[in-house]
Symmetry: C3
Subunit: 484 residues, 3 copies
């Protein structure tokens, strides 16, 4: 015991979690770079520029037809998912709520700026003047891009430093923009809700990084790698806002009119049926049939991930229910059997179980999308509806739906490759001993990176796991101990 | 004392809260049934179908005139009220937050699917092909329908099993759809915000069930039937989201244009004035004039309930303020005097006081609606405005406003009858000893149905009411005890 | 020590925090006055009145062009900021969460009614019939007006009684309406997001009041003037909803079309860059580079305040980033150096640091607005765009942009004068010994004004600062004490 003790202290000393120089340096330098790049490249598009007044009249439009009114409500819902949804979903750990909400906030705020540039160069570059013209749709896409990195954060939650997270985000956004360009533009696959582009990529990106950063002695932090009653309630805030606004997520950038309308309906239904199967499986596999909060907090969302690609297609209401039905079961079983297996045999430590919530459902979503696309017929969609839904225009005018199905599948493969490959690459970089990551026995703990409220700091290490004890109490309890 | 003890243990043994078979069975079977019924009956309507492109051109519409853009923002607000609003409002109990948020989540997710079918058969059935055609308005109505059952949940909170809640919801939705059809279609009463259809029905439905499930020895759980400091703060999340989004609730399905606009304004004003009178009465009836969180959490919402019917009428801003003024007073007095009276003399145990928040204000809302309708004149509404507001078209073209007032009152009676009658019937079913409900001394406790975080489980029963004690502490305190 | 003790008890006795008569009286009387005034003055405008049907046809409009659909989603976001954003941001104190959320709720609900009247008389009075005609834009402006008072509340948080807060609000709204009329109508300055009108005014109004109410012995409450772990997490709910919805705040009442679109983009970008510089400075100035929750909770919002005025101008994306960059640094430095300085030397006790979050960034916002306006050119804005953006119409048709810049600066001065002057005046009134404010050693404590959950009340004063101790524990710990 004493030996282990001294060894642990040794580790501790070798780890320096002081980020007083690196964190401010990275933030200031990168933010300055953003300002310069925005100055050179980014301008308002014709709908957010003061010239809209003339543009509107020329095209005989009403103000209400500005894209802002089609997409802004969905944008705000997505925004809530990114910052409150992802942020609070990760507060379930008893002593890592500051890191969960705070670092989520930090990397999302940085990521969306870099995403506007990266995606802009690929998608919104105006070749007449070499500027990126942005509007509300770009803001939504930037939030989407960030989501990929926040998913990855879920796998390494509590085991990395804020500086590592910023590096993870910088590379994550870059890889995302490239794979997105390949999948959506080159392969011309459709992926409205990002089952492939966001969830599959983000999931495998995070899992590969976590595999590269494997910590054999993580069990030393076991006592902190669990929730307490009220931290589970905080996490439910994240779960519910993700669940409620997912229809907006999947419909945010789909076609005006029926596209957004249908995507919202399909997502709403898929999520509803996921909840019931999640509860069923959670109860069935626990002793005494008790429900496990981990499943309720996470697996209930799997349906939204899995209809991401097909949401804008004619998946049909019952089709959405079926997808949700299956994902609730698969995702919950993943938490019960797969996550322990992966940690034990594959050396992948997945703090939030993103493999069950994002990676697997994302792959299912890609497959569902490919099948739905391949099965699309003019009799169901209508001639114009079919062209409109799959954008069979320009060079893709004569693509058949079966061919489209194949390209959807190809897109899925690209997402997986970028996720795994990019994750291994970035994981290798993050292993450098310069990033200020915590020692094995200091993981899942806000203490290294946050000034904690006084009533916590005075707690001697031996009692440190105690959440709510207070100075006076401790004084006493110690006294009692001495007494004995 | 020893006798009571052994008797309690006896009860305990007779109660089996293991739902490991029943809960999964119900979830899987019902969800499968939903998939089959959706497959047979439910399709997209012309605004969410890919044929919209053609439909739009035929009718010379712009995409922005798709109903999605009129109602989706309101829908999302209503969605938040259902899942976060109702869910968190019920987290005020110190040890029942998992059940409050989690079961609310479960029954709402099931209920909205069943509601789409039930309401669809009555309202959205396309007789040409026998299919129910759904769009965003159906989603809103499904959420409304669910609200009725969640209100009922408030009365039995902490005293029933999840299986009982699913049964309560299945019958509740069914009854709701029927009474709604009678009130809105046959009687042709107007009820935009559902004062009658949702709140009056839901309130009396829940109260009747609670009366049927009366527990004489519930005082054995008294120590858990109270809040702690932070659980009251969690509950305020629910209160505020309900309060803020209530204008969207009452305006979500009203007429495009002035209808939605006016309903939102009226609700906004009624809620504002309710807050002041609630605070006044709460302070006036407490010793030292201290405010009671129960009143702030609940009575401040009564105004929104009570303008539900009249919100779309020309209630006038001052009219809304008056309604809110009265409801704040009545609802708060209800919590202070009526709730204890009902428990003692009427044997109705109303955990959340839904009688004060939904039933009474709902009835007031129905009466206000009847009066406002009867008092409507062409001089105030304008000829077209009057026809438009009350849908005096087709068979109702020549209905007078005074006659409409009478029909509004008739609608209120129908809602009460369905609530009381349905509640007694369902309560009778729920008394069967097969549903896994908790023992009297195990109510208001998450322990029977949830895997609780470790730091809770180790607490011995005698100390079980202590939220934040930790293993070590207990070890000591026990030691001290032995010492003495 | 004994002397100090007895002196403190003396103070205590002299302070009577019983508001059982004053609070109900004020609420009932003022609400009654509101009903009468609304009855005399307030009616629906042509877009929320039943005559809209005819109005629409006369003007050949579609229902979707009703202002409701342009502004309602933004209104709801603003509404969330007022009630959840401000309310929860102030829950960071360990024992004042009820007061933070509850009193915020109370004064906002009262304030918005009074604001509808005050602003209505100045801006929406229909001279044909002497009525104020309200629509959704009036609701937004009422919420804005309330924001000014909630900012002021932040400075005196925990040190005043609810009655004082209502008085603060009554006068605050009145002053707001006047300075707003002078700045926007007479001076014709533009201030879409209210950097000057809302934040500068509200900030200095609150600081002046706090200066007038200076408490030399406030250190007696020091033990309560700090957060605990979970109260900081609650506060993050407020921070995030403010941060996410700020783009809606700044764009809620700007011009239809490009105006709202551009304001949202600028705010989104400014806020993003603020987060990075806040984190940088927070880490740089703390020992071991740890982050301080106070900065993350507050300074990350400064960017939104500072682009309030210029958000609707052609500030350019990089311009927004620069504003956010500077404000994150200045605001965080303010918390580290300025707040202690102000308390020590200027006798200004600023509980929430509103000087760093609202006053300073507000002034910066006013200056940025003046510069941006003065620098506006037709080549950038386009002839029509320029006229449209600055409303150079009617009597202001021939105003030059440089002249506009001067008027913007003048507007800023007016806001500061009204804030300081009004604050001193109201502070003087609030010093009267009739308002039931708490004793110095009872500040930052919910106990005087709220019925606290049982497990709290039984705690003897000596242990009162302990959040989570429970009856039994205390019995023991006391016992132990006696033992010694």
């Amino acid at each position: 015991m004493g030996a282990a003790q001294s060894f642990r202290e040794l580790c501790d000393r070798t780890k320096n979690t002081n980020v007083r120089l690196s964190l401010p340096a990275v933030c200031i330098v990168w933010q300055t770079a953003m300002i310069i790049l925005f100055g050179v490249f980014i301008r308002y598009n014709e709908e957010s520029d003061t010239h809209w007044v003339e543009y509107r009249k020329e095209n005989n439009l009403s103000d209400i037809q500005n894209d802002f009114y089609f997409r802004y409500p969905s944008f705000q819902d997505v925004h809530v998912m990114i910052f409150v949804g992802f942020g609070f979903l990760m507060t379930f750990l008893q002593r890592y709520s500051f890191g969960a909400v705070g670092f989520n906030f930090l990397i999302a705020a940085f990521g969306l700026q870099w995403a506007l540039l990266m995606q802009g160069w690929f998608h919104s570059l105006d070749y007449t003047d070499g500027k990126i013209k942005i509007g509300v749709e770009n803001l939504i896409n930037a939030d989407f891009c960030v989501a990929g990195c926040l998913i990855a954060y879920g796998a390494v939650l509590g085991k990395v430093s804020p500086v590592q997270l910023l590096v993870l985000t910088l590379f994550g956004i870059t890889l995302f923009a490239v794979e997105e360009y390949i999948i959506l533009d080159l392969i011309h696959a459709k992926d409205a809700g990002g089952s492939m582009v966001i969830h599959t990529f983000g999931g495998y990106y995070g899992l590969s990084i976590s595999w590269m950063l494997y910590r054999p002695n993580l069990d030393q932090s076991n006592r902190l790698q669990s929730s307490v009653y009220h931290s589970d309630v905080f996490a439910m805030i994240g779960t519910l806002f993700l669940w409620m606004f997912w229809p907006s997520f999947n419909s945010a950038i789909t076609d005006h009119g029926d596209g957004q309308h249908r995507a919202a309906i399909n997502t709403y239904l898929a999520l509803a049926s996921t909840v019931l199967t999640t509860v069923a499986v959670s109860s069935l596999f626990q002793k005494h049939g008790k429900l496990d909060m981990v499943h309720i907090q996470n697996s209930t969302l799997a349906g939204g991930v899995a209809v991401g690609t097909a949401a804008e297609f004619m998946l049909m209401p019952y089709g959405s229910l079926i997808v949700g039905f299956c994902c609730g079961i698969i995702s919950t079983l993943g938490y019960i059997f797969l996550t322990p297996f992966m940690e034990k045999y594959l050396k992948i430590q997945d703090t939030c179980g993103i493999h069950n919530l994002h990676a697997m459902p994302g792959v299912i979503g890609g497959i569902v999308g490919a099948i739905t696309a391949a099965a699309a017929t003019e009799s169901v969609y209508g001639a114009e509806g079919l062209r409109n839904t799959f954008d069979f225009e320009g060079e893709f005018a004569d693509r058949s739906t079966s061919k489209q199905g194949g390209h959807q599948a190809a897109g899925l493969c690209v997402a997986i490759c970028f996720g795994v490959g990019g994750g291994i690459l970035v994981g290798f970089i993050l292993r450098l001993p310069i990033w200020g990551d915590p020692a094995d026995d200091n993981c899942f703990n806000d203490e290294p990176y946050w000034e904690l409220p006084e009533d916590e700091e005075v707690v001697p290490p031996m009692l440190h796991y105690n959440n709510h004890m207070h100075n006076k109490e401790i004084a006493e309890s110690n006294f009692t101990v001495e007494q004995n």
